[in-house]
């Protein structure tokens, strides 16, 4: 399972619920920011300044440190035309690259098929979450969907070692595709064996793992630690997916948004520290996105669903800095009170697909889009 050359790996961290762009990357010097954020604005001076216009949310200290080391690309004004402002529909659009129709194939499902067309490795894609994100779905493409890496596998309730070995052995024997039982039965047999093989491969990861890095205590830190364990075990996984949230800060945003970003920032920093300790960071690019940004004018204690948002690309090979432009905050430039996107998200995917994973993006994102050049 080990490979001699390092294959590129992408880690997607989805900020579920609609991350508030305006308070994540703050136009602290713009009076329109103050005017629009009477209730939840970050008081001037608290932002973590990266230039004379823009600063990061005070809870993003760890990401600011990485930004200062040129490892973070901030991509402004991300979205797509006619933003629906619905969590579900927006997330679907990000997952399937289909803003004009209801898509069912995920962009990373297609990428996984290009990476491993013969489906030789059942852990090419590993998903940390209660279920498979639609971004990963493609007919026949295996996805190992992990809740807790330490207990991952078929029948996790059977824990006694000897009993477990026996029952899984029995499971494998029952799933041997029997000749002549029909296509559906044979298909089920193959899927069942894929599940077992994936669990068998992944269970090696925590056993091989040791690290000096102490991750903070948060759910996103646990997920990223699991991803680090699998990545460092060299199992051939090329696509990792996880999420954190809920960023749906309609109310009491001031405390909640800060907590979320503290958790994300610290976990991401620990993750890359861990990877560097194992000389495993230089082939990893992490992409952070949210389904939409939030309304510019706050509602007193929070902010409502909006349009344009921000994405981040993080990694040792990322060319740090800012890409695209911060959309205008002027009232006449807003659409329904929202920042207007000027960077199509499919362009960001194209950069990751072509300039990191070495794939042809056109078929995957269904078209050609301007690529922010934060890689290569």
């Amino acid at each position: 399972m080990t490979s001699t050359k390092k294959d590129p790996v992408v880690v997607v961290l989805q900020l579920t619920g609609g991350n508030d762009y305006a308070n994540t990357v703050i136009r602290y010097a713009d009076p329109l920011y103050r005017d629009n954020r009477p209730g939840i604005g970050i008081p001037e001076g608290q932002e973590l300044r990266i230039d004379d216009e823009i600063g990061l949310h005070p809870a993003m200290g760890a990401i600011k440190e990485m930004y200062d080391q040129n490892q973070v690309a901030i991509i402004h004004g991300v979205g797509y035309p006619n933003s629906p402002r619905s969590h579900f529909r927006s997330m679907d659009i990000w997952h399937t690259c289909a803003p004009d129709r209801l898509g069912t194939e995920g962009w990373l499902g297609r990428a996984a098929l290009d990476i491993d067309p013969n489906k030789e490795n059942v852990v090419t894609t590993v998903c940390f979450g209660p279920s498979i994100f639609r971004a990963l779905v493609y007919p026949g493409v295996p996805v190992a969907c992990v809740g807790n890496l330490d207990t991952y596998g078929m029948l996790p309730g059977v824990t006694e070692v000897d009993q477990r070995a026996k029952i899984l052995d029995r499971f494998a024997r029952m799933y041997v595709p029997a000749i002549g039982t029909g296509l559906v039965d044979e298909y089920l047999g193959q899927i069942g064996l894929d599940c077992l093989a994936g669990a068998d491969i992944l269970k090696a990861a925590p056993q091989l793992y040791s690290s000096e890095v102490e991750y903070p205590d948060s759910t996103i830190a646990k997920k990223l630690k699991g991803i680090a364990q699998i990545h460092e075990a060299n199992l051939g996984t090329r696509i990792f997916y996880c999420d954190h949230g809920v960023f749906d800060t309609h109310a009491n945003q001031v405390g909640a948004h800060g907590t979320l970003w503290t958790e994300v920032s610290q976990a991401v920093q620990s993750f890359f520290d861990d990877l560097r300790e194992h000389d495993a960071a230089d082939n990893v690019v992490m992409l952070l996105f949210s389904e939409f940004g939030r309304r510019l004018h706050d509602n007193g204690s929070g902010s409502d669903h909006g349009a344009g948002g921000v994405a981040f690309a993080i990694g040792d090979t990322v060319k740090g800095g800012q890409y695209s432009e911060y959309p205008s905050l002027k009232a006449e430039d807003l659409e329904q009170g929202d920042l207007v996107p000027n960077m199509d998200f499919r362009g960001i995917y194209s950069t990751v697909l072509e300039d990191h994973l070495g794939l042809d993006a056109k078929g995957i994102v269904e078209g050609e889009f301007e690529k922010p050049r934060f890689l290569g």
């Binding site: 998903c127 029948l155 309730g157 029995r170 039965d185």
Partner: protein
Amino acid sequence: MAEQDIPLMAHLMRRAGFGASREELEERAAKGYEETVEELLDPDQNEAFNKFRMLRYHPWAWKPGTMTGHGAGEWMHRMVSTKRPLEEKMTLFWHQLFATGVSKIDHYHELTSMIDLFREKAMGDYREILLGMARNPAMIYWLDNCENHGDAVNENWGRELLELFSMGVGNYTEVDVREASRAFTGWTLTPVPPRGPVGRHSWDFEYKDWDHDHGEKTFLGETGDFNGEDIVDIILKNPATSRFIARHLYNFFVADEPQVPAWSVTPPNDPEAIEAIAQALRDSNYDIRSALRVLFKSDFFKKARYTRIKSHAEVVVGALRLVGGHDFPSPGIGNLSKQPGYMGQELLNPPSVEGWHTGAEWINSGSLMARINFTADLISDTSRPGIQNIINRLKAQGDLSPEAFVDTCLDLMGPLDVGQEVKQELVDHAGAAGALKWGSEEDSAASTNRVSEMLQLVVSTRDYQYA
């Protein structure tokens, strides 16, 4: 009534419901197959779900917002606790056929209202169901009929009405789509849904005559100043509609068919069966109950055991009903309603207007593991009333050889016919620990564990993925 009717009754209850305990199967078998079919077809014979009890403990279930899990919470509790299983199964059928999702509606209350409509009309007149959908605000918004104006036609609803809800591709022209859409101009919702910051208004159907195109239309060869009702009547006169709905009923209740988009080019697996159901629809003026009566009493249905892959909703609801103890609306209902979603069938949020792909397409490496682990986890809890009943039935047989132990488990879990190879694996597994004994307390505890393990293996089999 004789014991040999149990497998048939179990088959009926898996398909017309979400499975049944052995006690229930025995009662029903004693009552008789035909009588049970009639009872299922007449839900009013049994106690209705008590919505007010549900709301007393779960006020969030009234007009749920947009939080995932909350939207389908009440429906999940209904499916798990209902005494009218076919009524809920038909509700699920209509949700699959008129697939409408919160991804666009962004308004769970409108979707739960649509589900309530499905339940009310579950086995009624298909004309009423179609017109109910044409007037349903969630459907109007989902398929943009609120954008279908007398002077600017939007064809989305008109097209899907013909393609997905009645005749299927190949039975109409693009001109028919246009003319049908014109006939539905002015069928809109009110008020226009505010996407703003405060709350959600309920939507109501409104027919705006001033926005309706009163011009002459020619649809499927007939000409006149048609309105929506006329289009539905012409659609129902076309025998293609009866065959299309029949094929849906067959795919849902009898055996897996190819996916819907392939229906115009792939003939049915059993054309005679489809025709029999279609004939029943035509003979009864599209009374769904009459079609179901023919279906459930037919030989093709009775023979079609374990020929469908269970949907994820059937897996989750079936397992919860099997282990029992969910009659009360206890905490955690919202979480239970998310389980099919974790497997790939998020209730009230189908991936598209085509609904979920069925059959083998339910299964991928993530969903198979989720299905098996969810079911095995539930079933391993030997304190559950349904599992206690299984253990008591095993105990009642005294000490059991490994083979008899496996046979009894397979019998009580189905009866499930797993084939010789898998059966041998199960017997070998049981044989490693010898006979199942209940004599001493120690034996009893060990045997309880062995039953738990055997049941987990049984629900892990490929065979158990079928209904």
